[in-house]
Symmetry: C2
């Protein structure tokens, strides 16, 4: 599916069915046949839009993350505070999201590529989104100088680790404590020297 | 091998042979037979000390990281600057280390557990080491207040991401730029409010 093409009711039904399958079975055990069955459409209808499970799941995760980010971005305030709110709030939603939770638990090997090798579509989209907020913050004076894409890439590494590895540090940081420390880390990284404060 | 037992010349020869094997073949294709051959000892000599490749490689990685950290910790200066130097320097050495580089490239799935599920021995050792430095920094006034283990766990997430995922963001951050941004992130996270500066 070209990402510029408006999604139809059928596309949405297929993505919704894929979401239910992945949340229940994980990525590897999701088949286009089962997705078609749950969406109430024929298999060719699915195959015409997505030729394999990989491309369908990729589009599903792009949609899922876009919804999370849209819900997480706070309204109003300076750009830095909004960006911190979006990353911490979005990260917290991702940790509790049934789709990402299932993938981290059951299909962590699917994520390997994007942890060790190269960026995926969602990660590139996040860097672009962070860089845009950083530019805005540099204009409104709430974010320090620096190449926006470089700061954005570092923020991605920070945020990604706090989401994917949250479960490894629960002996030290519960969910609220992790949110608080992540907010402090981002704030300390982005704040201009004269505006740093203890959150 | 009990970690309190002093390592003998034979232990060291076996660990050195294991290091050469893992750097050449990766973790999964390293066998105790080949390790014994390269160490010039009999297989029973290896088996008496390590019953399987997993426990041997685990001890090897503990030794490797300890050597890196020892080499990376700067002498003198306030605790915060030394901790930043140790993490950034140690992270940079890990990225260039033939053993860790091979594991990240060939056996990333071996690392999965420690990214998504639970901490390994090395990660717990790093948190303890960071927490000790943080306590020192809280005494000498170079590190802000906060529960040392919580700050240390957040630092681990930050540092680990910058090491394991460095290769994913090379379009945005080359090695020197990544070191610089990681130093800024750690400094911003740890500095007391009145001591924050742009590095």
């Amino acid at each position: 599916m070209a990402s510029t093409e408006p999604s139809t009711a059928v596309d949405r039904a297929i993505l919704d069915a894929a979401r239910a399958c992945v949340a229940e079975f994980g990525v590897r055990r999701t088949t286009l046949t089962e997705v078609a069955r749950r969406a109430g459409v024929s298999r060719p209808t699915v195959y015409r839009r997505w030729t394999d499970t990989g491309s369908l799941v990729a589009d599903l995760l792009v949609r899922e993350l876009r919804e999370i980010i849209t819900a997480a971005i706070p309204e109003g305030g300076a750009a830095r505070a909004r960006l911190i709110g979006a990353i911490v709030g979005g990260g917290s939603m991702m940790r509790r999201n049934p789709l990402f939770a299932k993938i981290f638990r059951t299909d962590a090997d699917v994520m390997l590529t994007y942890v060790f090798e190269r960026l995926g579509r969602n990660q590139r989209a996040l860097i672009a989104l962070f860089a845009e907020s950083i530019r805005e913050g540099q204009r409104d004076g709430s974010i320090r100088d620096g190449e926006p894409e470089q700061l954005a890439a570092m923020l991605l590494l920070l945020a990604q680790s706090a989401v994917q590895s949250a479960g490894t540090v629960t002996d030290f940081l519960d969910s609220d404590q992790l949110d608080r420390e992540l907010a402090r880390a981002i704030d300390g990284y982005l704040a201009p020297v004269d505006q740093r404060k203890v959150l």
